[in-house]
Amino acid sequence: MTVATLRSVYPGPGGFDPRRLRREFPIFASNPDLVFLDSGASAQKPRSVIDRVADYYRTDYANVHRGVYRLSARSTELFEEAREKVRCFLNAADRREIVFVRGATEAINLVAQSWGTAFLKAGDEIVISELEHHSNIVPWQMLRDRLGIRLMVAPIDATGGLDLAAFEARLSPRTRLVAITHLANATGALVPIETVTRLAHRRGAKVLIDGCQAAPRLAVDVQALDCDFYTFSGHKTYGPTGIGVLYGRYELLSAMPPWQGGGEMILSVTFERSEFQDPPHRFEAGTPDISGAIGLGTAIDFIEELGRDNILEHEEALTGYGVDRLSRIPGLRLVEAGQRRLGILSFDLEGVHPHDLAQVLDQYHVAVRAGHHCAQPLMERLGLAGTTRASLGVYNDEPDIDALAAALEAGREMFAR
C-alpha cells in the first residue's frame, strides 16, 4: 500500500480514522469484542507486517551475508534494506550505526557489556532516573558490581516528571553515561531528553536513551537529539517480536569490542586469534532474526504511511480524552506524569488491587496491564504496590476509553458491595 492509499482509505480528522484502521489489524477480526489497551506491553500487528514475514519465508528466504547464490543475495539485500529503513526512521547519519538486536533489553546489555566494560573503571558514575524500566536498571547494576562503578539515580519531582535540577545535581566530572527513558513506560511521563542530553554532554558524559515507548508514538531524530545511543523494540512498534534496534554513533561503535563471538561478526579466524568485522556486523554474531528485521522494516513503512505527526496528534488527543474521562470516576487517581503525558494512563482505583481490577476489566474484554510494569523502584517511590495501566495505539479511539471507563465503574461497584 502506498503513502496515499493508507491515509485515503481510512481518512479522519487527525489524518486517519483509528476505528476503520482496525481493518488492517487481523487480531480485531479474530477478537471482535476486544478493547486492546496494552500496546505499551506489545502492539498488535498490521496485516502488512504479518504478510511480509510470511511472504519472506515463502519467496525470499535464505541465510544472509554468506551465500553466493541469488536467493541468499536477495535475502541479504532485503535484510540490509530493513536496516536502511530503520536508519531513516531514526534519521541516523549512517546505516552502519544501526545494530539489529533482540530488543531494547539486549541493546542496553550490549552497551553495558561492550562499551561499559571497555571504557569504564572503578569510581566512574552512571546516572539513571527513577522512571526507568528494569531493563535500564539491572544491566547497570550488574556492571556496577563487576567494575566498582557508581550508579546514581535522578529522582522525579512532585508532578511525576524528571526533576531536572536534581538530575543536574547528580552529574559530576565522574559521570560517564546517562541512561534514561524517553517516555516512562509505567506512567507515560515524557522526559525532556534534549535538555538531559545537553546537560550530560556539557559534563562530557555519553547519553543512552530507551525509546521503547517513544518510538511508536513520536518522531525520533537521533542527530537532532544529539544522543550517543538510542534503542527501541520492534514489537512495541507494530513489528514482530524478537527484533530490536540499537543506534550508536559510529565512532563509538567502532571503538567498542564485540560482546558475543561467533559467525557473521568476524573477518578471519585462526585458532590463535580472530579479526572482527566493523560495526554493525561486529555486534551481530550468529544468524540474525532476518524475518524480524524485514517485518520491522514493513512496520516502519506502516508508521510512515500513517505519518508520525498524525500518530502523535492522535495519541495526544486520545491521552487528553482519557485523562478527562477517567478523572470523573470517583476514587480513581491517575498517577502523575509530569508536564507531558503521552499514550499511557496509569491509575489506582481506591480499595481495589490492580490485579482484581484487571480481572474485572477482562470480563468486559478490556485488555490492560496490572502490576508494577517492570518498574518496581518507581512503584516503591510512588508508594504503590502497582497500578492498572491503559496504553494506547493507532487503533484505539474514544469509544475504547468509554468502554474502559464503563468497566472501571462496574469494577468499582463489584468491590464496593
Binding site: 490485579h355 482484581d356 480481572q359 463489584m414
Partner: protein, 155 residues
C-alpha cells in the same frame, strides 16, 4: 466464561477487606515469606508450633483480594491442626485449584476443606491460581525452613 461473582464471592471480598489473623506472632517457631514477582505481592506467614500442633498462625503482607482472602482463610482452618493435617489440607486444596486429582482427606478435615471452597473459583482463571496458593507455599516453606525461612516465589 465463568461469572466473576463466582470468583469474587462475598466471603472472598469480606476476607480480602478484613483479613483474619492479619498480624505478626512475637516469637514464631516458624516463618517464611512468599513473593509473587509477577505482581509484586508479598506475604509473610508466622507459625507457633507446640510439638506437632499449630497453636497459632498469622500473616502480614499486601496482595489482591484473592491472595489476602486465601491467606486469611488458611490461618482460620489451620489453627489447632497438626503439621500433617496442614499438609494434607494444602495437598487437597492445591489439587482442587489446579484441576488435579484431589487426594482423599480424613473425615475429620472435611469441614475445613469445605471452608476453602469459595477459593476454588480460581480454577477457571489460571493466572490467579498463584494468588490463591501464595500463602500456602509460604506455609510449606516455613514448615521446611523453620525460623528464618527463605522467601518462596511463585511465578
Amino acid at each position: 466464561m465463568m461469572d466473576l461473582r463466582e470468583l469474587y464471592q462475598d466471603i472472598i471480598l469480606d476476607h480480602g477487606r478484613h483479613p483474619r489473623n492479619f498480624r505478626t506472632i512475637e516469637h514464631p517457631t516458624h516463618c517464611a515469606q512468599g513473593h509473587n514477582p509477577l505482581c509484586g505481592d508479598r506475604v509473610t506467614v508466622y507459625l507457633a508450633l507446640d510439638g506437632d500442633r499449630i497453636i497459632d498462625v498469622s500473616f502480614q503482607g499486601r496482595g489482591c483480594a484473592i491472595s489476602t482472602a486465601a491467606a486469611s482463610l488458611m490461618t482460620e482452618v489451620l489453627k489447632g491442626k497438626t503439621v500433617a493435617e496442614a499438609q494434607a489440607l494444602f495437598g487437597q486444596f492445591h489439587a482442587r485449584v489446579t484441576g488435579g486429582e484431589p487426594a482423599a482427606l480424613p473425615e475429620a478435615l472435611a469441614e475445613e476443606a469445605e471452608r476453602l471452597d469459595p477459593l476454588t473459583g480460581v480454577k477457571a482463571f489460571p493466572a490467579r491460581v498463584k494468588c490463591a496458593t501464595l500463602s500456602w507455599h509460604a506455609l510449606e516453606a516455613a514448615l521446611k525452613g523453620g525460623g528464618a525461612g527463605p522467601a518462596v516465589k511463585t511465578e
